[in-house]
Symmetry: D2
Subunit: 350 residues, 4 copies
Amino acid sequence: MKAFVMRRIGEVGFMEKDKPACGPNDAVVRATRGLVCTSDVHTVAGAIGERTNLTLGHEAVGIVAEVGSEVKLFKPGDRVCVGAITPIWGSDAAQRGFPSQSGQALGGWMYANVKDGTFAEYFHVNEADANMALIPDGISDDAAVYCTDMMSTGFAGAENANIPLGGTVAVFAQGPVGLMATAGARMLGAGLIIAVEADPKRQELSRYYGADVIVDFTKEDPVKKIMELTDGQGVDSAIEALGADITFQQAVKVTKPGGTVSNIGYHGSGEFVHIPRLEWGVGMANITIVTDLCPGGRVRMERMLRLLQNKRIDPTRLTTHVFPFDEVDKAFELMKTKADNIIKPLIVFS
Amino acid sequence: MKAFVMRRIGEVGFMEKDKPACGPNDAVVRATRGLVCTSDVHTVAGAIGERTNLTLGHEAVGIVAEVGSEVKLFKPGDRVCVGAITPIWGSDAAQRGFPSQSGQALGGWMYANVKDGTFAEYFHVNEADANMALIPDGISDDAAVYCTDMMSTGFAGAENANIPLGGTVAVFAQGPVGLMATAGARMLGAGLIIAVEADPKRQELSRYYGADVIVDFTKEDPVKKIMELTDGQGVDSAIEALGADITFQQAVKVTKPGGTVSNIGYHGSGEFVHIPRLEWGVGMANITIVTDLCPGGRVRMERMLRLLQNKRIDPTRLTTHVFPFDEVDKAFELMKTKADNIIKPLIVFS
Amino acid sequence: MKAFVMRRIGEVGFMEKDKPACGPNDAVVRATRGLVCTSDVHTVAGAIGERTNLTLGHEAVGIVAEVGSEVKLFKPGDRVCVGAITPIWGSDAAQRGFPSQSGQALGGWMYANVKDGTFAEYFHVNEADANMALIPDGISDDAAVYCTDMMSTGFAGAENANIPLGGTVAVFAQGPVGLMATAGARMLGAGLIIAVEADPKRQELSRYYGADVIVDFTKEDPVKKIMELTDGQGVDSAIEALGADITFQQAVKVTKPGGTVSNIGYHGSGEFVHIPRLEWGVGMANITIVTDLCPGGRVRMERMLRLLQNKRIDPTRLTTHVFPFDEVDKAFELMKTKADNIIKPLIVFS
Amino acid sequence: MKAFVMRRIGEVGFMEKDKPACGPNDAVVRATRGLVCTSDVHTVAGAIGERTNLTLGHEAVGIVAEVGSEVKLFKPGDRVCVGAITPIWGSDAAQRGFPSQSGQALGGWMYANVKDGTFAEYFHVNEADANMALIPDGISDDAAVYCTDMMSTGFAGAENANIPLGGTVAVFAQGPVGLMATAGARMLGAGLIIAVEADPKRQELSRYYGADVIVDFTKEDPVKKIMELTDGQGVDSAIEALGADITFQQAVKVTKPGGTVSNIGYHGSGEFVHIPRLEWGVGMANITIVTDLCPGGRVRMERMLRLLQNKRIDPTRLTTHVFPFDEVDKAFELMKTKADNIIKPLIVFS
């Protein structure tokens, strides 16, 4: 079968691979739709170290092709959504309530990390009963594929933020994850949502997904502006959706005593991430800093799908480009350059 | 009346002051016992800025001398324990569940900060019904005075740490607050308590208060040692009880994915406190960082007193020195130099 | 001044009373709008025992007429919203996080219970700084008055229900509180909201406020239907918004293992409320039953007002009737009989 | 192999069975020690319906005899502790955080319910990597076997009770689970523990495990006495460890507003369990009722074992009798009659 791989750091391309083998608890899925994620770009740039001929991609839906002997809930032909994160559910971390950390930190992140990803005609699913969900009729693959990562990750940023009903939230950066964090904050009852973003198209989508106010950090100091918008009190919750030290610092600075900083961004560089000491209340202001990696699993996917089914949100507005699978290299290149105002490119498998 | 004050940055001394006035919701208390806190030393050194003739001290018990017209639960002659932190209970932060942040960050910290402290013959209590607790018969003033800050603060470090019953905890630094954090972790069901401390006397007390293992950071790398003691997994919970950047970093480094770093130390210097990026799981390992300032209030004090009443803990082992009030300057000097293996000096008012 | 009172059990009427006195922490407010609550009807029927010439009403907004010497945040002329529940913020229960239980069970419920209510030209507010909120410009009194009880109570039913984002919820009864529970569930990200209601007008409002499916209990067994709608799994969360034993039992029956039953209804009769043993998992199915009384306080009111300000909800759809204050007796009578499809009657003070 | 079975309702006996088969994720364990549980008695009496030749027992430790192809963490010869509850970790309920409810209510309870139990020379373990734990050297089988159910269940009763550090707790009934709930409350920092028990031997053990006060319900009204012991306030937390309607009602009655009733008892009879309406605050007093079934899993067992390893508790004081496996019928009979002051009979496999 055809696969789109990272040949080595800095180089991608197509290659032929064997269809994945299917162990007793596994499934093999034929991909129908996928999305390219900026983290694929980081991976190819070397963020997680060298990889050789590793299939890329972790956001995909498809049709079950094969299931192992112990799989009870699925059968070939089922249309399924597979979380980008596929935890080992009996692992120590999962038993402690943190399945995304199965085996080790971020250990539930397997695709395009420790095993082949989803940009291939077929991809493998570990613990299939626990990591796949049936896509209900009436939900398109084009929408369902957003459940796997963008919705699950962005919403987690909001879910972890301890937003009081009617409370105030600031969301830093409105890329696809940040936009879903904004949508999540809106769905979770925030009374005032302030989004920080400079790009006009993203600003527009931010309003669509629920931001009340947009702060353009190229035109004004976001910390000063957010303090002003909250009568000097700061927000109940700040969501960092970029993975940059500077926005993390700003998130701490705008959070009121007793508030929560919810980090959902991948911090890719530097020895340290910096907490501004004074605004952190010298370590005594009851400010909490929480972090997360995209929640996966069948139950999570089913809840995401339910939000689509009952029209709570339309994530397809994030799709700015569409490519057939044999042009995924072009989509990848666009995600790298962020040219053409790209937000998410949808990959269509024939 | 006689008061021990900070005359200006760097200078302390005794002076005569008027007995405090008593508003409708207030009480005035005649001090019987007090403790000197290292934070008094920091204050005099200028940590919170200039102060002029401000009475020092925030750990005290005494006898009610006067109550305001709206005070219902107390009367002159009552023997009371007053939290070091005296929140405004109707404030925004208190209504949100964070009374120590009344009015502003750390706003419940009034004594020897925004008003005169407790090192005087009489001291003032705001919202007396809410901020004082009766000391039950059978509990000495010498013990009760530990409820006001050392027990409440140290225990909070453990309470916030999300320690699972039977879980693993590391406590960084075994000063009086760190020792109470160790005792708190023990009282809250930790299955393995690792304390980091180099001083032999504090090591001994640490074992007394519940540490299973002591790591001497002058003899071995505490991060390496703690990882080894936990089979490479790290601890469920790490408590920072010093307020130093280096121990904070170590706390993050030894915390497993899904674990909690509970900061109870006052971070007194530097523009930033540093989160080690990789060990923090690049912001995605479900590690939570929580912070707190000594909880105050009648209910908190009553619970602390109940722990004394039913012999759950004996905090008086922390008392290494005793001085009469007119020698509090000597106690203060000792706390500054940490000479003579001092842990806490008890101040006796005549 | 004129007041509408419960003369004795079973009898209401108007009478002249003195304007309330204003203690140091208090305010006196001139009422501008009020709402009649079914609980006023219960009170007059004797639900809380005999009362003599007690002013009725607990849902009101108005203009500050007078403030006490210790009040800092308000001044005469301010337009304010006052929670139906006015806690004693320094009380034991408030310090424990349960301000509605100040002093005793339900102790924060003072109006028309232990002191005169709000159906008078002027009414009294205890701890004014903590229990009133400024109404921002642009929010009408007609809308703001819903913050005091209907929104705060109904939303609390949803907030306490531990609804996962995308989870399933059943709301039993769609009176004004149940409708706001439905709206709350929607605002908090429920993926499927099933409302149980037989009245056509309430069914219509239920859809407007966010229900996905309405179950008419006069036409089908709600337990059977809800199990069917959830593929035999039951709901994540069930909200009881009526205060009837039968709906409470149904709520338990439709809640899945690990789910939450959130009771917000006032259970007015019977020695016991019944938990169906088997569906409760013989006491071992991780089902949690939570209860609440309308949250009050300035912060709560500010959050409710923010939801109005940023157009998250329009509660005025609940207003089916309008009466001038001197006809509040007619409104009261309608609430008693529930004639004319009444939901909430708005009272306009001249 | 030899197995001790329930032949049918009301009848037990020994029979020969095949050694269990071992699937890819499973293990087969040779039993070394077991405990008889009162729930075995209930099962034989018909509490969960008819069963034919079902092997009894669910509390056991042993030596791994065989592991499946997918098992990575264990090998034959390992000395292991196996939770009484063996969840399906990928199940819907486990993903939601409630592994004991795998598949259905109480679905993690498999032994002597839906499959053969542990009173046989060999027993089967599903998802072996997730449901077994290595017993560290220095912990005897005699002690480790208490981790499987008595400690895990009793402690859960305390863990779920939201006991504030220094708070007040009442534990209803001091059978083996109730005694472990008392020990759990003590390990979790309760400041006052009131145990309700009439049996002198159990009273004595109750004091040993941490009760401060014992209320003998045959001599005084426990509700009245507990209210008296708490100055009329009631307790922060009440633990029901019997599974009787009357103690459940008492638990609600003694719980203060905002407090928690933690049910850990198996309620075996009656259509309803009764909530006393008035003391429940007519459904509005912020009283929470939580329930649980013995937590299982490797992480749970490891934490229980750590408590033994570091001498936090000695559960072997519960062992009042010892029988070889071929006399387990005598142990079973004693548990039925509760003769000879039996608490727990230890079963020794040769």
